[in-house]
């Protein structure tokens, strides 16, 4: 691939992984640097929900539409990566039931298939659910392994020639005049610093995007918004269990392997590296989760942790819930800095779409017309990332 343009992707999360894949498929030379192990940022720690989009139909229909579209694509390009047991939106109270009609209308508008289930039917599907539930709606949610899906993007990118460099931290942006021409990196394996020259640099550092932007002297409206997740021992459900109400705290239980994971909460921080796990949030997760599945309370806690969402929003936001879950791509040429593009927001479930939009912008800059093929190309198994 000599002579091809070279793109440097900063950040080895879901977004960076999908980007590396799309960029290589369009014939670009790609280097991806990640300061830790790949997916060690927000990506690996997420809830593991393959979104149907139903969670967002009431508040954020754009995000919902993105989710369902990507949901169908991912099932196709990553076969055998998901527990495809569907999800339920469970109405526990009469108030919850009042959301049923707007919810069904919203799903219909966004193209999310639904099926309304009676109380008895619901309990036959998921016997551990709170028996006082009123009704439930079935949607095409799924469970994923938060690390192994991005690994498949990375494995495929690597197979097509992308160079993935974990434990390589960007310490400065390399300029030629006013144009970004690469990055200065520190390789923690060898303790050496060197410069990677690139035609375009993509900042895909999620909640850390502000730090990279700062190195380049630009600004991105990123609000790192952490949430707490709690995993309890025992698989209490097979489907994803959501509460039928406007998205709130502790209202999703995602089963994974032999665990049940309940989440999440939401607040806003300055430094996404310094996340504590407030004890009160852990208790709140258990209390709220137990409304959906009462036995959750009796199960031993396996782990409680926090991760920071890379939400797009103004500095004034403080809970994070009011911020859109959709993504945004910034071409910093608009601020007079050529050669640097930032992609933030979104979800792990929509990483492919985020990569497509970003790669379109990068290709336009470089005069490349190759169309996006990531909707069709089936990804390699995750094991190929390490096995080579």
């Amino acid at each position: 691939m000599k002579g091809a343009f070279h793109v440097l992707v900063i950040g080895g999360g879901a977004t960076g992984a999908a980007l590396a894949h799309d960029l290589t498929l369009r014939g670009l030379r790609v280097t991806l640097v990640e300061r830790w192990e790949v997916t060690a940022g927000t990506t690996g720690r997420h809830h593991g929900l393959l979104h149907s989009g139903a969670r967002y139909v009431l508040t954020d229909p754009d995000s919902a539409r993105e989710c369902i579209e990507e949901n169908w694509i991912l099932r196709r390009i990553a076969p055998d990566a998901f527990e495809l047991n569907d999800g339920l939106f469970v109405a526990l109270t009469d108030e919850d039931v009042t959301y049923l009609d707007p919810f069904l209308e919203g799903c219909a508008r966004c193209g999310i298939p639904t099926r309304v289930l009676s109380r008895e039917h619901t309990l036959r599907l998921e016997p551990n659910l709170n028996p006082t539930l009123k009704l439930a709606v079935q949607v095409p949610d799924g469970t994923m392994d938060a690390m192994r899906l991005p690994l498949r993007f990375l494995a495929t990118a690597q197979h097509h020639g992308a160079e993935i460099r974990p434990f390589t931290e960007v310490v400065d942006i390399h300029f030629q005049g006013r144009t970004v021409a690469g990055a200065r990196v520190r390789d923690h394996r060898t303790e050496r610093e060197y410069t990677i020259a690139a035609d375009v640099v993509i900042n895909a550092t999620g909640p850390w995007a502000g730090q990279i932007a700062q190195m380049a002297g630009v600004d991105v409206p990123i609000r790192p918004s952490p949430g707490v997740l709690v995993a309890v021992e025992g698989r209490l459900c097979n489907m994803v269990i959501n509460r039928l109400h406007p998205a709130g705290d502790g209202d999703i239980i995602v089963p994974q392997r032999r665990l049940s994971i309940v989440g999440t909460s939401s607040w806003v921080v300055e430094d996404p590296d310094d996340l504590d796990v407030p004890e009160a949030h852990v208790r709140m997760m258990i209390d709220l989760g137990a409304l959906l599945i009462p036995t959750l309370r009796e199960m031993p806690v396996r782990a409680a942790w926090a991760a920071a969402r890379p939400l797009v929003g103004p500095r004034t936001a403080h809970s994070g819930r009011e911020l859109s879950r959709t993504f945004k791509c910034f071409d910093h040429a608009d601020e007079g800095v050529e050669g640097l593009v930032t992609i933030i927001g979104g979800k792990a479930s929509t990483a492919r779409a985020m990569a497509e939009v970003t790669t379109d912008i990068v290709c336009a800059k470089l005069g490349i017309t190759a169309p996006c093929r990531t909707r069709e190309v089936v990804l390699l198994p995750h094991t190929a990332y390490y096995a080579g």
């Binding site: 527990e83 047991n85 099926r115 079935q138 938060a146 995993a231 698989r235 032999r258 004890e279």
Partner: protein, 249 residues
Amino acid sequence: MTEQRTVQFRVFRYKQGRERPWYDTFDVTVTPRTTVLEALQFIRRVHDPSLMLRHSCHHASCGTCGMRINGQERLACITRVHDIAGERVTVEPLANLPIIGDLVVDMKAFYAKFTPMAMPLIRHSEFLPEAEPPEGVDTYTRLENCIECGLCVSVCPVAASDPLYLGPAALAAAWRVVQEPRGQNVPEILAQVDTAHGCWRCHIAMECSAVCPSHVDPGAAIMALRGTLIRQHLPWRRKQQGGDAHEPR
């Protein structure tokens, strides 16, 4: 938080190009909830950003944070500092895999043995057997137990002395395929483990099953593979099946 205390972390360090590995010692203040992973993240953030470790899911699901904590193979993300005896915690990388740097081992050799077993990631779910799946879902599925953490390989005394040994994780994966083929070629998988470096190499130390954080029980899987192969190799079985039962097609 209540009940804070200061614990000494003695951390194994190694960088490519250096002649010998060494230990660095750091003081970390911990609460009863603090995990070893959180303590190491604190060290990386506050004392030394060059500290290399692997982590991702923080809840025993990805398998990246395996390390030896006071000599014992564990997942750092679910090991509470308070549950470790003593005032000093020594953390070292997994054994029996090459070290890339600090606490990070190269998983290439692990996956080179694991991948040929071709274990599909998604399996049939045996939980809540009385539950009926919803319309549109044939059967409930779930992710496989093995999180590919390598703890079993690190603890295995045979892996320590035979670099060609397939190792407990790969053998357990092979047994999963035999149990639930999901379209895989079972005879071929059996042929791969029916070798001197396959399931016959194991010395039944059962350490793998003792350290596995994810209910895989590789030791039992290896014995089950042996049982299957012994039954196939019985002379009357062979005749009945016309040759070696698991000869690759």
